[in-house]
Amino acid sequence: MREVDLLGALEEFVTGKTELSKDGLQDFAEVLLKEFKRKNRRLERILKQSDRQQIELDRYKTELEERVDEAVKEIKVLNNEIVETQKEILFTMGAIGETRSKETGNHVKRVAYYSYILAKKWGLSEESAKILRDASPMHDIGKVAIPDTILNKPGPLTANEFKIIQEHAEIGYDLLKHSKRPLLQTASIVAHEHHEKWDGSGYPRGLKGEEIHIYGRITAIADVFDALGSDRVYKQAWKLDRILTLFREDSGKHFDPELVDIFFDNLDEFLKIRSNFRDETNDSSY
């Protein structure tokens, strides 16, 4: 029986509009009882429907969360893979540039960590310092375009040969500048400006002071500190004292004086890196 009809009949009875005999009353009560029981059962079933939906929703939510978790995990793994691959490629490219001039793979590693320390102490963010660390091994990538005969010439270079070697800064920059990736952008700056000098006497552009990007100023110190301490075709490794004297003298000339101060303040850390990444064939650094 429809709810409205039942309620209508009940209301008529209650308000006295219909009068019922004893039998009629009995029948009516039976109908009411039956309907009451039915409605009661329906109420339970409506609540059960609500419960089912709740469970369904919860199951759905849990499933979704699990799937999101898995996806995030996978993305992290993939991202890590990409980052590591990127680093390896940069490192390999940097090493190519270095081996062209008979330097060791450890040179680029040391330059990377020296640059990182200088960047952090100078006040660059952790993120930028890490990017510089990973990009600085590329500073000499432009040497891939310089002939072996010049790069590995044991004797003194002619003025023209020296000019050709200097081109590696511009060449490295041209190789890397087209990328929009922060890492390669940084690498292009480093390649371009690691031979600029604070007093404007460097190359390729003769930039001065803070015209030189902080990445260039940092890598200049890191590169020279390491190069002087290592054997090269054209020279023996310098003793530490001699290197430090040069840094003191060249502060404000070749190098950013603020960075030289930071270098001396943290000399311990630089020396630790130097001994951790010592070249196997070269023990004459000290």
């Binding site: 039915r38 329906r42 079933r45 409506i46 429907q49 609500s50 939906q53």
Partner: protein
């Protein structure tokens, strides 16, 4: 009588009330913001239909994937109208259609079938 067609939304089913085909069909989800207002024209249409139309065979198909508890109550009201018509001699077949995987839709269908034991009520697995 005019056909009444209400298109599905994100929260409401597609509703087709077709007097020519003698077909009443609801397909989709049912979480209207206000269930009783939403379904009022449907119930009204049904009532008129069973009053005006002859008592030839009518088919009612409900394929409701998910629905809230006020929709649950509303379907009881809807089947009350159908049961009423059935009692007055209308020949009506009700099909409650559900997906094999949708257990809760199946259970809900069983509850309706049980409540309306007088009706020609079929659970149809898809």
């Amino acid at each position: 009588m005019d056909t009444l067609h209400i298109e599905a939304t994100k929260f409401t089913p597609d509703i087709l009330l077709d007097p020519e085909e003698r077909l009443i069909r609801l397909v989709g989800k049912s979480y209207p913001e206000n269930t009783f207002d939403f379904y009022a024209p449907v119930l009204e249409w049904l009532q008129n239909y069973f009053e005006i139309e002859s008592s030839e065979d009518t088919t009612i198909e409900l394929e409701i994937l998910y629905f809230n508890s006020s929709s649950s109550k509303l379907f009881f009201d809807l089947f009350d109208i159908v049961e009423d018509a059935h009692n007055r001699g209308h020949k009506i077949e009700v099909k409650w259609i559900y997906d094999v995987e949708n257990e809760s839709a199946e259970e809900a269908g069983e509850d309706y079938k049980d409540d309306f034991e007088m009706l020609n009520f079929h659970l149809v697995e898809k």
